[in-house]
């Protein structure tokens, strides 16, 4: 039979049973799986995984086994971690894990098809309804949760190959797009286009928008929130948070490339009682 289950290696399962930090181990496995699922671990993700590994409290053997399982992506072994989290993690831990997975998935600025499906699977696994998950995704990334692409359809391929030939605009949220060759070579640097994507903004963002989106995302992604999931999760969140901070600093410092020129604030129809109508009219005349 084509899809017969392979014999399960007892390695990970036994290590898991004997571990003293089961939840942390499962969290580590899942997060590493999210990082590895699109087949290519970008340098940023590698760095993140290395940091996470240093933060893990259990034995090195367990950690190595977890990373091995994540890389190989075999269902029988991943299932061990999934089952445990589904039945033993508290509701808030599940939500935190979902958030961590989302942050990990969009770390390289795009959401590939595999990552999308993995996130959907995690949402169903952790009993998060689609609406709640969409809300969580928007809060964590500043963009709505996209529909997964279909690499078995010709239209998807045509769109992708056309997009590769033309210069892709920096603010497009690329779904299942090809790996960016040159940018993967320099892990630590960030260009303004990437920074905009990290903050969930489009080209022509004003200083105010950058600041407000940074504040909003920083509140959601602050590493201390993930203390419940274990130290390894905190380390993962810290690295992701670092990236957010780098993006913000870059955009604040470079004046002209990404930001729109400072313009007077547009006339907002703010509701003000008493004499507001006259003020609004005056404001509209000035702004227009």
């Amino acid at each position: 039979m084509l899809y017969e289950a392979t014999t399960t290696e007892p390695g990970f399962r036994e290590l898991f049973r004997g571990s003293e930090h089961r939840q942390a181990l499962c969290v580590l496995t899942i997060v590493a799986w999210v990082a590895c699922c699109d087949g290519k671990v970008s340098p940023r993700e590698q760095e993140l995984l290395r940091n996470t590994a240093e933060g893990y409290e259990g034995t090195e053997r367990e950690m190595a086994a977890a990373l091995e399982v994540a890389k190989s992506g075999q269902p029988e072994q991943l299932e061990v971690a999934c089952r445990y989290l589904r039945s033993h993690a508290s509701r808030s831990s599940k939500k935190l894990l979902a958030q961590l997975a989302i942050t990990m998935a969009v770390l390289d600025g795009r959401l590939s098809v595999s990552e999308n499906f993995v996130l959907q699977f995690l949402a169903d696994l952790l009993d998060i309804s689609p609406r709640a998950f969409n809300r969580l995704f928007e809060k964590t990334t500043g963009r709505p949760f996209p529909q997964a692409g279909d690499p078995s359809s010709i239209e998807w391929w045509k769109a992708r190959e056309q997009g590769r030939q033309a210069t892709p605009p920096a603010d497009q949220w690329r779904i299942g797009s090809p790996t960016r060759g040159p940018s993967d070579a320099k892990p630590a640097e960030m260009d303004p286009a990437e920074a905009l994507e990290v903050l969930g903004l489009e080209e022509g963002a004003t200083l105010e928008m950058i600041r407000s989106s940074y504040r909003r995302l920083a509140r959601k992604r602050h590493p201390d929130r993930f203390a419940k999931l274990g130290r390894a999760a905190i380390v993962t969140a810290t690295a992701a948070f670092e990236r957010l901070r780098q993006a913000h600093d870059l955009l604040i410092s470079t004046p002209s490339t990404a930001q729109a020129p400072a313009s007077p604030p547009p006339p907002v129809a703010r509701w003000r009682w008493r004499g507001s109508a006259a003020r609004q009219e005056a404001g509209a005349k000035v702004g227009a």
Binding site: L2, D38, Q74, I154, W157
Partner: protein, 156 residues
């Protein structure tokens, strides 16, 4: 997303020749063109294989965990990746399932905080009995004070 390998009944590691032969056997022209344009192009096939592999893993896990009816899966047409057949008798997976089903606890092991009354039914019964007793006594007092139990004095 469609799983071409499952639909064409071909191994994921099949060679180009085998794929071509399998595709020739397909009667639906549009499907055949679709499969050919993706599977017979090396670069496209590599990307497709990667995503298909992840989806197969997810589908298998979903079927083991019972999540193939979950909301996110039911959205798209994921029947190609839903595996609901029971494994062959004698395979390690089969024994696993049978043993698990036989000895699985009925409820999840997560400790749920239950109210003290529901944990001790005797206390519950005692309290309810006491309330009913009190109510009966009050009723008796009420009725006797209004002289409803005794006969009314005959009017002379």
């Amino acid at each position: 997303m469609r799983d071409f390998y499952r639909l064409l009944e071909v191994e994921p590691t099949a060679s180009r020749k085998e794929l071509r032969a399998a595709l020739m056997g397909v009667k639906d022209v549009s499907f055949r063109n679709r499969g050919a344009s993706i599977l017979l192009d090396e670069r496209r096939r590599a990307v497709y294989d990667r995503d298909r592999q992840v989806l197969a893993t997810i589908g298998r896990m979903r079927s083991h965990l019972g999540l193939y009816l979950a909301p996110f899966w039911a959205r798209g047409d994921m029947t190609d990746f839903t595996y609901t057949e029971t494994p062959a008798v004698g395979s390690p997976r089969f024994d696993d399932i049978i043993v698990k089903q036989a000895f699985a606890p009925a409820k999840s092991r997560r400790r749920r905080h239950r109210h003290r009354l529901s944990r001790n039914p005797e206390i519950k019964a005692a309290i309810i009995g006491g309330i009913i007793g009190l109510a009966l006594i009050l009723l008796l007092i009420f009725l006797s004070s209004h002289n409803l139990l005794s006969l009314p004095a005959p009017q002379q």
